[in-house]
């Protein structure tokens, strides 16, 4: 199933145009598998040559490709670097909205808001005389900011880890 062990060497010789060498031609006479390989390699080589001649020059040259790659790489690095900032731009207003919402909720004398306040006071959530709802509000704001910071940090670190893994 694997052919002749000299197949790779024969193939190299055919590609290098050295299949007329005595050792190669002697082997080709005695090995039908390598004869088949050599014949196929010669025909494929001729086909490839004619095809390349027909292909002509590429539509873009090396300089254009280099610049395209350079610009795309620079753009991806810029995106990577500014990703955290863009997240922060979204996260900060979001966190402030949440905080403002909680504050508004606690300021309004609705029955269930009173229930929440009562629950907080019942659990003894007071620090140095501060009411429970103020403490809860501070904790919510701190959690929201910590969460968004952690998210932004992770988002910034992830592309770097991927780049390291690829290289």
């Amino acid at each position: 199933m694997n052919g002749c062990p000299r197949e790779a060497a024969i193939l190299r010789a055919v590609r290098a145009g050295a299949d007329g060498d005595l050792s190669v031609s002697e082997h080709l006479e005695s090995c039908s598998s390598c004869r088949e390989t050599a014949s196929l390699a010669r025909r494929l080589g001729a086909l490839a040559l004619s095809e390349r001649a027909q292909l002509g020059e590429p539509q873009v040259n090396a300089t254009q490709v280099w610049w395209k790659a350079y610009l795309r790489r620079r753009r991806s690095r810029t995106d990577e670097a500014t990703g955290a900032l863009r997240i922060a731009e979204l996260a900060v207003p979001l966190a402030l909205t949440v905080v403002a919402g909680v504050a508004a909720l606690l300021a309004m004398p609705t029955p269930w808001q009173q229930a929440v306040r009562g629950l907080l006071e019942e659990t003894g959530a007071t620090v140095a005389g501060a009411p429970g709802w103020a403490l809860a509000l501070s904790a919510a704001a701190a959690l929201a900011l910590a969460g968004t910071s952690a998210w932004a940090l992770l988002h910034r670190l992830r592309p770097r880890a991927e780049t390291t893994r690829k290289s």
């Binding site: 199933m1 052919g3 193939l11 004619s50 292909l55 090396a62 790659a69 790489r73 290289s167």
Partner: protein
């Protein structure tokens, strides 16, 4: 090996010795000059269209530059380039197959009317795309079994078996004049 080739290899070698950095333009020029035509030829054989092959080749070079892979020799870099190009072709082929399952064959002919070996072309077209690609890489581009295994993410032994079967099939088809 000519002096020019040695210098060319040295330039590419120097450039790829710096991991994470984009290849310098002269080194890239040398690498591009030596690999562009064979890659486009390979992709034309796979995709059956020069336009598609041009696009895929360009994208493969750009991705290679973006990834800046760390490799020890130009041969490994070439192998990486072919792997990228093959993956790009496979993605495109799968997408096209989903969009138009009955139109699996390329619409544009691979070559002009001046095809030197019609029987061989016809026989190659009878092979599965992956087998055809492996045959081309082994017999035309001179990649060894290990490099081809790297391109297709398969075991080296599988490459040997697939190539053996593909060669037998090609030989049999060529005996019948490329017809199955």
């Amino acid at each position: 090996m000519s002096l020019q080739n040695v210098l060319r290899q040295t330039t590419v070698q120097d450039a790829i010795a710096q991991p994470g950095e984009i290849m310098e333009p002269p080194a890239f020029q040398a690498f591009y000059d030596s690999t562009s035509a064979p890659l486009r030829s390979y992709l034309t054989r796979l995709a059956g269209s020069r336009t598609v092959a041009e696009d895929l080749a360009q994208e493969a070079f750009i991705r290679l530059m973006q990834a800046s892979p760390r490799y020890e020799s130009p041969a490994q870099l070439k192998s990486y380039l072919y792997r990228t190009a093959t993956n790009l072709f496979t993605d495109r082929w799968r997408k096209r197959r989903r969009e138009a399952p009955l139109d699996a064959r390329p619409s544009e002919p691979a070559g002009d009317a001046t095809v030197v070996d019609v029987d061989l072309e016809r026989a190659l077209d009878k092979l599965k795309p992956r087998d055809r690609a492996m045959v081309w890489l082994a017999y035309v581009e001179g990649l060894d079994h290990r490099e081809i295994a790297g391109v297709f993410s398969v075991h080296e032994r599988s490459v040997r078996v697939i190539l053996f079967r593909a060669r037998k099939k090609l030989a049999s088809l060529l005996e019948k004049g490329g017809r199955s």
